[in-house]
């Protein structure tokens, strides 16, 4: 017990130091690198809190994809010559900010300590209804059954974020290819990796969805794996991004939310909006998840690639 506590204390300390380096570090690139490490450490913290699903999501999305977005922006800014700022923050500003943030942290810490111990939250309620949800992983049961409405809106949020990013496209390249052209040697390690990874990534993604019904995993984690594979394939120069005007691409984007919404609407027609009948729960949830995985993968990959920049 004490050894575990010691480990956790060390982990917390490391998290805080790395977080501070990410926030207050000098160089922008270094700050982003620290942010990615920070995300990995947070994932470790989630493992300690027995939240394996969250750990996977945090490592893949919080650290990985967010990190890619930040690095992508950093390199674009650098090309535009606007990465640097003259001088850092002034000392009085730092002191004032330190005081404010210290107060915030203290107030929140005091609130945390004032919360009563031993609240069970909704674990008993979830455990009681788990048998009727169609899956054995309680987190998946919450995401795709008990609070499926949240997840439906969330999948739309992701999709609309992509449309919002696309809305920034200059008219001249509308319908064009997202991101910048990639140049890579076709005989390098990267392109070998890029050729090897897709089949493997596909298997891993399917496994993550399948296993997600009883073990940690699910559509968002699997979608991120597929998105990462796709990004690597593009980076290796093996394939280019599809143009934003592609009909198949648009179909892939709406497939997941579409199937999800259709299941919800059919439920509404039978009296229970988003209702998933007990007998068909598992196949229905898995169908939703597979469709979602496809859409999430495509959406995430395109979000990282950014708005269309080249004519199709």
């Amino acid at each position: 017990m004490t050894a575990a506590l010691l480990f956790d204390a060390g982990l917390c300390l490391l998290v805080l130091v790395v977080a501070f380096s990410a926030v207050a570090g000098r160089g922008l690139f270094g700050a982003i690198a620290f942010f990615i490490i920070y995300g990995m450490l947070i994932a470790l913290a989630w493992l300690r809190l027995e939240g394996v699903d969250v750990a996977l999501a945090e490592a893949a999305i919080g650290a990985g994809l967010t990190g890619m977005l930040l690095i992508g922006a950093w390199s674009m800014l650098k090309q535009l010559g606007v990465s640097g700022l003259p001088g850092g923050p002034s000392v009085p500003l730092r002191i004032a900010a330190g005081a404010v943030s210290g107060l915030v942290a203290l107030a929140l810490a005091a609130t945390v300590l004032a919360l009563p111990d031993g609240r069970e939250g909704l674990s008993p309620a979830v455990a009681e209804s788990l048998g009727r949800s169609g899956v054995d992983n309680p987190v998946t049961a919450v995401l795709l059954n008990f609070r499926a409405y949240d997840t439906l809106l969330e999948s739309v949020v992701l999709l609309i974020a992509l449309i919002a990013v696309w809305s920034l496209t200059p008219r001249a390249v509308w319908g064009g290819v997202p991101g910048l052209a990639q140049h890579a040697r076709s005989d390098g390690v990267l392109s070998m990796f890029g050729r090897l990874l897709p089949p493997l990534g596909l298997v891993v993604a399917i496994y993550l969805v399948w296993a997600g019904s009883s073990q940690p995993g699910g559509a968002f984690q699997a979608g991120t794996v597929l998105a990462a594979v796709w990004l690597l394939v593009v980076m290796a120069g093996l394939y280019d991004e599809p143009p934003a005007s592609s009909r198949n691409l648009r179909l892939a984007l709406v497939a997941g939310p579409g199937v999800f919404l259709a299941v919800g609407a059919v439920g509404a027609a039978f009296g229970v909006f988003m209702g998933i009948p007990e007998g068909f729960a598992k196949p229905l949830i898995l169908s939703i998840e597979f469709a979602l995985t496809v859409s999430i993968a495509v959406t995430l990959a395109l979000l990282v690639a950014g708005r269309p920049r080249r004519p199709a």
Partner: protein, 103 residues
């Protein structure tokens, strides 16, 4: 049971030594390419030893296979990243040996 635990501890510790060595190489080696070399090679070996050590705790072959897959993928990823980093370094002036990439 004890023997398996001992093997695990020994192998994981060996793995850690490689990680420490790789990190030391990153910090101490003079130029960019030997740093990168030290880091990727040592980390790869280190991870291999740790995976092997953990494999002794597994009860079924399926889990061992997954561990092997993790090691292989991590190795390939490291190699690809090393190639990308080296390419980025080559694109720059030789005297600016990757100062950006510290951290």
């Amino acid at each position: 049971m004890i023997a398996l635990d001992v093997m695990t501890v020994l192998l994981v510790c060996t793995g850690l030594v490689f990680f420490v060595a790789g990190t030391a190489g990153l910090l101490r080696f003079p130029d960019f390419h030997s740093r990168l070399h030290a880091l990727t090679k040592a980390d790869n070996l280190g991870l291999g030893f740790i995976a092997l050590g953990v494999a002794f705790q597994m009860t079924d072959a399926w889990s061992v296979a997954k561990l092997a897959l993790v090691w292989m993928l991590a190795g390939l990823a490291a190699a690809s990243v090393a190639q990308l980093v080296a390419r980025a370094a080559l694109d720059r002036l030789p005297d600016e040996s990757g100062g950006e990439h510290k951290g």
